[in-house]
Amino acid sequence: MENLLEVKNLKTSFFSDGKETPAVDGVSFELKKGETLGIVGESGSGKSVTSLSILQLIQKPHGKIVNGEILFKSQNLLELNDKQIRKIRGKHISMIFQEPMTSLNPVFTVGNQIMEVMTLHHGVSMREAKVQAINMLELVGIPSPEKRFMQYPHQLSGGMRQRVMIAMALACNPDLLIADEPTTALDVTIQAQILELMKNLKKQFDTSILLITHDLGVVSEAADNVAVMYLGRIVEYTDVDTFFEEPKHPYSQGLLKSIPSLSNRVERLTPIQGQVPHPSAITQGCRFAGRCEHVHDMCIREEPPLMSISQHQIRCWMYSESWNDRDKEDTAHGREVAAGRESSKVVHH
């Protein structure tokens, strides 16, 4: 099947005081029609920046897409001017955000905000737009949509607002929906409702979804493929089943072990040691080296490329051939160096 979206070697940086801090660095992935790709990562991994880069919603003037291609239906979005990209937004690609509380404009009615997209992109009349908007509200499971249509965002609960956001995003029946942490701010029972809703709508509209989340559970529920990001890089990229059955990257493994599980309780969790360092602290070698338990000299010397192994794409020397030839003693040494490098770099900021 043809790729709906293809991101190639994307690099987005933030500039302050003339200093460049790359938030997304050389990220590539693709998304087919009707597919859901989950991008997982902790804070600072660059997952949100990736999603914002696609529609060029990075905050100017500090954020800037430095490099790469974003091919949407084979058209490079980065080559479009402001006017053209605005025609794509909301019509072909739409977004929903983490905070349903703040993502809706407080001074306009819900209906007004949904109709706005419709009249904008489909040029329908106000009356027609109203009918459609109410339909949309009903579709996303909002009870008494006629009443809600007239209400302001503050009169709705968080879950309702997220439904409104979804209705707005799907109003023009886009090809791609980018959902940036759509359930994070919601209560567990509401989160379940929204996930369910998204799954159903995806089937109904045949929309592709780019799902950004830090919650591995959500990915497991909703995604077909998973990309794990760490410090601006994709470190592991595979389909969801493979990922959960057989996570390969030490970071992915660490993440899964860190999470207390409902189904099989362990007395003690095994966390990944240390903290996520600042992106500027790492100039060389594997970005995870400082926290990796398998770290080796070579990890510090050189950053591993994204390697393909069967279903997987992994950025780790462990899966390269040279790993087996490694000098075992260097592992311990490597760990020391990595830790030292990290702390010395970061303390003087």
């Binding site: 605005r86 739409s94 955000f97 404009n105 407080p106 001074v107 306009f108 904008l120 992109h121 956001m165």
Partner: protein, 298 residues
């Protein structure tokens, strides 16, 4: 409150007239009649009682009813402060928007410096400068007053006459507020532009202009309404000096005259009036709030 402040002041209106031909006894009697020798709380109580009955009292020296005196002055002050108010917002807001949308570029810097000068310049000084330039040098505008004396305009001509007279004092009065409104609109708009729903609007594909003017501005104006409320006492206060300079026949010039003459009843009534006008303005600001911000409902 004003009452007690004024009572602390040494001297009373009778004593501003020191005339060898008036015996001390006579003065004493006049004071007693006016109640200046009563204990403070009795004076205050009497005053409150009168106010409650709609009687603001009489001026000490000339015995005119204070309420009438103030009401005569009220329209002039309202005309002046109202014009200044309109100017402040109709000029301040667009400039603020312009400044915010041209952030960190030349127009923004120019407007920033302008706004600081607007805040910094003493009004009496600015007023004199205006008179000097526009009235004397160019002769475009009258130096002072509210209408052309003896012209007896009516209708449209009268309106133009008012306009000609009000424009300078209103500008002087409005200048600091224009500056403040501008700064406030600018920062408020910038703050709103950082908010999530602006990103939502962008993500919808709305044009830049529509994002700014529909989604951002309406929200940005909500905090500006605070300035709306705060500017009212400021304008009324500023009216004292401005009216004085431009000989504007309003409550401000009356106030200054009254303070000089120790006309307590006038001063107290003026205070009562201004504070009520301010309250009224604040109330209006509240209504405006509710009108612009659906989250507030009364």
């Amino acid at each position: 409150m004003t009452f007690s402040i004024m009572q602390l002041a040494p001297g009373n209106p009778m004593q501003t007239m020191i005339n060898p031909k008036i015996s001390a006894e006579e003065m004493q009697r006049a004071q007693e009649k006016l109640g200046f020798n009563d204990p403070l709380y009795i004076q205050y109580f009497k005053w409150m009682k009168e106010v409650a009955q709609g009687n603001l009292g009489y001026t000490v020296k000339t015995g005119q009813p204070v309420g009438k005196l103030i009401l005569e002055r009220l329209p002039a002050t309202l005309l002046l402060t109202g014009t200044a108010f309109l100017m402040a917002f109709s000029i301040g807001v667009p400039l603020g928007v312009y400044s915010a949308t041209h952030r960190y570029r030349l127009p923004d810097y120019v407007l920033t410096v302008f706004s600081f000068i607007g805040i910094s310049i003493p009004s009496f000084f600015f007023g004199l400068g205006m008179i000097f330039v526009f009235a004397l040098k160019f002769g475009w505008l009258p130096t002072s007053g509210m209408i052309t004396i003896g012209a007896d305009h009516t209708g449209y001509a009268l309106f133009l006459d008012y306009l000609k007279h009000v424009i300078m004092p209103a500008t002087v009065l409005a200048l600091p507020t224009i500056a403040v409104v501008m700064r406030f609109t600018r920062s408020s708009l910038l703050e709103v532009l950082n908010q999530d729903f602006i990103r939502t609007a962008d993500a919808k594909g709305l044009s830049q202009q529509k994002v700014y003017l529909k989604h951002a501005l309406r929200n940005a104006l909500i905090p500006v309404i605070t300035v709306f409320g705060l500017s009212i006492p400021f304008l009324f206060g500023g009216a004292y000096i401005t009216e004085h300079i431009f000989n504007w026949p309003g409550m401000g010039s009356l106030g200054i005259q009254s303070i000089v003459a120790r006309e307590y009843p006038v001063i107290m009534a003026l205070n009562l009036f201004t504070s009520m006008l301010v309250m009224f303005g604040n109330l209006l600001a509240d209504v405006m709030y509710a009108w612009t911000d659906p989250r507030i409902r009364y």
